[in-house]
Structures are given as structure tokens and as C-alpha cells.
């Protein structure tokens, strides 16, 4: 056993098998754990903050106290409110629909608003059909915002999902190797495209383009916004779908082709169905993207909180509402709380979407490839 030990060579002895304490291992493990916990904590705290700010809506008594304080602070906030006003009149330039005149009027009376704007929001008023946060008699009905968001999402998905999925199918099943090497990174680059640029493009180019085709009145509306959102959602849906399609085992494709199926039949009947969980997840994440998208919504939808099924009417989305109004709202005001409530709702939606995507995909895949009948 006393053979000279070569440097760096592992010798199998009782001694060498003894547990050793490795400093570097220990430290790196602790650091990684620490950082992970820190980031999780920060995220959780952000959510706690958002929820907490939304909470007073449901708590009348606390609300009263805040109100008193607020009236005292009124003077200080006055200056800021003015600023907010100029901001929002800046916005009117793109929100040029006639529907916005009421908003302008409201904002002209911004000073009154601060006093009256803290009317109690209840479940009932939240379920109202009017979103008029800055009027003499402010109303915080979320219904038009929901309708707007859903409308936009639907329009965006009607465009984005088929285009993205077909493109992914082409890239994964038909494109020659060299072409795939170009398509995939190119579309993935688009995912990082600043949404303000897409919004700008929608505002300047697409709005007029579609107006010429469909001949509607307001340049900015749900349709323009939805199509612009589709541009933002396509890269996400494409990438995830493409990954799902290329992850389908080659043996499937070969089996199908060996049975005399054409490439289209193989793609349609074998590859696509085998990848459905992934594609479903891709669509959910695409929806999440549209839900949370603020800049494009602000710039391209017209921002009037209307309830209608007409795709060429202006809409206002949840996210855009926060984006447009948070800057001009009074701290602790009902309006302020409602905006945080909207934020919380957005969070809950997106969280559920992601969770659904995750669990659905995992569950389905496990079933599919381990033989439990689907």
C-alpha cells in the first residue's frame, strides 16, 4: 500500500474515501443559495407591495384616515397634477379619437379631481361599466378595461398564433438546414425588439394603412393595436413552438415517412400533434405577453375605455391604464389603489397563465411519452 502516489491521481484507499471538507464547494453552494433566496425574496416583496397598495379599496375605515391626510397634502400634489396634465395632453396627440374629448374635459378639472377623486370604490363600482377616474364623480368600472384587454388579446392571437405556428412548422420540418440557421435567430432577435418601436410603427404606418383598407374613422383602435401586439407576440410563440417541434423525436418522423407519408402529412399528423403541449404553452405565453404589453397599447389603441365588440373601436387595456395614469395619480387615493389592484390582477393572470402552461405541458408530456392513455 505504500506505492508512491502520482500527483493528481486518485488512489483507492480507505484514506482517500474519507469524507473531506471542500471549502470552495461549501462557499459556492452557500453563495448560490444566498443569491437565489435574495432574488426570490425581492420578487415576493414587490408583489406584496403591489397587493398591499391595492388593498385599501376594500377597507373603508382606513380609507377615511387617508383622505384627511390627503386633503392636507393637496397643495403639494397640485404641482405634480399639473405636470401630469401636460403629460396626458401630450398623449392626446396619438389618441386623437373623438372619444377622448371627455377625458380632456376631465383633466381640465384636475384640481377638483383630487378632492373628489377619493370616492370609495366598492366591488359594485369596480364592476361598473364606466372608467372615469378623473371626473367630478369618478367611477372605477373595470369592465371596459377587461373588455378592451380581451379584445386586443383575441385580435392579436388570431394573427400571431397561426402565423407563428406555421412559420415554426416550416422552419422545423421543411426549411433546408441553412435556411433554418437564418430564420430562427432572426425571429428570436425580433423578440428583443423594443415595443416602443413597434408601437411607433403601428401609430405612424399601420394605422393609416389599415384605415385606407377598412375605411374606419378613428385611426387608432383595437384592430391596429391587436395587429401591433401580434408583432410582439409572434417571436415568442414562434420560438417556443419551434423548440417543441424540433424536440419531437426524429424516430417519429422517420416512422411516418417510412410508411409512405408525405412531408406535409408527417408534419401535420405526427410532428404537430406530438408537439401540442409545447404549442399550447407557446400560445399561453404569447397571451401573457399581450396582456402585459403597455407601450404598444398606449400608442396604438386609442385608449378610450369603450365597451363594444367592434374591432375598429378604440379600446383601453389594463396595462395601458396603469401606464397612462400612474404618473398623475395621488398617492393613497382611491384611483391610486385601483391602479394597484389592476396591477395585482395582471400579475395574477400572468402567473396563472404561466402556471397553466407549465403544469399542462409537464403533465401532458409525461402522459404522452410514458404511456398513460391520453
Amino acid at each position: 500500500m505504500d506505492k508512491p502516489v502520482e500527483k493528481g491521481k486518485f488512489v483507492f484507499t480507505r484514506e482517500s474515501l474519507k469524507k473531506k471538507f471542500r471549502w470552495s464547494e461549501f462557499l459556492s453552494e452557500k453563495i448560490i443559495t444566498g443569491v437565489a433566496f435574495l432574488s426570490i425574496t425581492i420578487i415576493v416583496l414587490i408583489f406584496v407591495f403591489v397587493f398591499k397598495e391595492a388593498l385599501p379599496i376594500f377597507n373603508y375605515k382606513k380609507k377615511e384616515a387617508v383622505k384627511v391626510e390627503q386633503v392636507q397634502k393637496q397643495e403639494q400634489y397640485g404641482g405634480e397634477a399639473d405636470q401630469g396634465q401636460t403629460n396626458s395632453s401630450g398623449q392626446e396627440q396619438y389618441g386623437v379619437t373623438t372619444n377622448d374629448t371627455m377625458m380632456i374635459e376631465n383633466q381640465a378639472r384636475a384640481e377638483d379631481t383630487i378632492v373628489h377623486g377619493s370616492e370609495q370604490a366598492t366591488f359594485k363600482s369596480l364592476a361598473g361599466k364606466k372608467w372615469l377616474p378623473v371626473s367630478d364623480n369618478p367611477r372605477y368600472g373595470l369592465v371596459p378595461l377587461f373588455v378592451g384587454t380581451l379584445k386586443i388579446t383575441l385580435i392579436a392571437m388570431l394573427f400571431a398564433a397561426p402565423i407563428a405556428i406555421l412559420a415554426a412548422l416550416f422552419s422545423a420540418s421543411f426549411a433546408p438546414y441553412w435556411m433554418r440557421e437564418i430564420i430562427k435567430p432572426a425571429i428570436e432577435l425580433l423578440a428583443g425588439f423594443p415595443s416602443v418601436v413597434i408601437g411607433f410603427f403601428a401609430l405612424m404606418v399601420m394605422a393609416s394603412f389599415f384605415q385606407n383598407i377598412f375605411g374606419y374613422d378613428g385611426r387608432l383602435n383595437a384592430f391596429v393595436g391587436g395587429v401591433a401586439m401580434a408583432l410582439a407576440a409572434i417571436p415568442i410563440i414562434f420560438t417556443i413552438t419551434e423548440d417543441a417541434l424540433t424536440a419531437v423525436p426524429r424516430t417519429y418522423t422517420e416512422a411516418s415517412l417510412a410508411l409512405g407519408a408525405t412531408r406535409w402529412q408527417t408534419a401535420l399528423f405526427v410532428t404537430l400533434p406530438a408537439a401540442t403541449p409545447g404549442i399550447f404553452a407557446a400560445i399561453l405565453l404569447g397571451i401573457g405577453r399581450v396582456f402585459g404589453e403597455t407601450m404598444i397599447a398606449l400608442m396604438a389603441t386609442g385608449n378610450a375605455a369603450l365597451i363594444s365588440v367592434n374591432p375598429f373601436e378604440s379600446v383601453r387595456t389594463l396595462a395601458a391604464t396603469i401606464g397612462a395614469e400612474m404618473a398623475e395619480v395621488v398617492f393613497g387615493d382611491t384611483h391610486y389603489n385601483v391602479l394597484f389592484l389592476i396591477g395585482s390582477l395582471l400579475f395574477v393572470f400572468n402567473f396563472s397563465l404561466n402556471a397553466l402552461a407549465e403544469f399542462y405541458v409537464k403533465g401532458k408530456l409525461v402522459k404522452r411519452f410514458q404511456g398513460k392513455q391520453s
Partner: protein, 252 residues
Amino acid sequence: MKEIKIKTRDLTLYYGPKMALNSISIEIPEKEVTAFIGPSGCGKSTFLRTLNRMNDLIPNVRITGEVLVDSLNIYDKQIDVVNLRKKVGMVFQKSNPFAKSIFENVAYGPRINGINNKTKLEEIVETSLKKAFIWEEVKDRLNDSAMALSGGQQQRMCIARTLAVEPEIILMDEPASALDPISTAKIEELIFELKKNYTIVIVTHNMQQAARVSDLTAFFYLGELIEFGKTKKIFTTPDKKHTEEYITGRFG
């Protein structure tokens, strides 16, 4: 001697710059079992896959020479690959059922050929599964996922799936290499039965299997066809020293 079903002439194949098959000429008779043997990497699978043009899927493959199936050059520009593959079916080394029910797996081939009549499909599925000796084991669970079958059952179901398209030639690439002895015996029995109606080409690493199931044996080495002849002769009195060394296991 039976009619020649497949014939290759100076078939040479390159993967990019690398030559994988060197001028292979062989004549495979109909309704017999022909076995390809040889050490790993010698080109057996590659050669098998040229017979139904599965190599078309791989980028940078270059092929010269001819492959004649029923005296037609299948690499001719006029040939429709899709129809060729209906005629020349393939069973893979690793069983590869689709993530669908057993019924849908077997019905897939007929379906893409435009058969949609339910009774007709049921009939095809039943006869195919019977021909593949697996009907009794699965007849009560046709709607269960094929993924839930055992490896051996999956492989026989894959054979049934191939049979459902009514090919004339069946190419098998080590169909039993991942199976236990009992499943292997079942597959061999099945091959024996199938050769009454089909021309079968099988790649195997198992010498006993080649000796048991095949009528003819081809020995490949480094992309070349070294020796081809009656299995009995190859396994008892081969002409080439190489062949003898390989079969007796004295091979480097």
C-alpha cells in the same frame, strides 16, 4: 432460384467527404430473408436505408450507382419517393410507436393513403396485428396508448404498422437488438412466417439469429460487401478468410 427483387449496381455513398459504401453490387431474391452482418460502423444500416431512400433525409449525402427494385432505378428522377416507401417498408432498431393509441398507430398508414371507412380500417388493423402475432395480446386494449406496451410488443406493433401499408419488401434494422430472448424468438418466428409473402432484408449483430432466420447472408466490412451467398454456406464454408474470422468471433 427465385426472381431478383432488389438489385444494386456499384452503389457508392458519401456522407460529406467520407465514403460509407464502396461500390456495392448485390442481388436480393424475392420472398426470402437476406441478412446483413458485419462489425459496427461497416455501413449495414446505411446500405439498408438506401433501399427505401431514407438517406434522402440526411443532409450532404451523395450517392452514385443504381438501386433497382423490380428492375426500376429508385434513384431515377421520375420516381416518387412516397410511393416507393409504401412498397419498401421499414422497421427500425428502436421501436418507434407514435404517441397515439394502438389502433391509430396501425391505422396511420392506411389513413394517409386515404382510407377513412371505419369498418375497413378496423379490418386492416386486425389483420395486420394478427400477421404480426400480437392481436391476441392487444385486442382488448386497442384504444390504449401504444407507449404503454412492452418493448417487444411495441416492436411487433411497429411491424404490424408496416404491414398495414401492404409493402412488398420489409427492411429491418436490428429489429430485436433491444429485446429479451422470448420477444426475440417471437420476432424471429414472425419473420419466418412473413417471408412467405414478403421479401425481407434484416440487419443483425446476432450470428445465431442470422443463421436461424436467413436464407442468404451478406457480410460487410468497412463499407464494402465482402461476401454474399447462401447462409448455410457462409456459416460453414465461407470463401473469404475475413468472413470466417468474423463469424467465428476471431475478429479484431
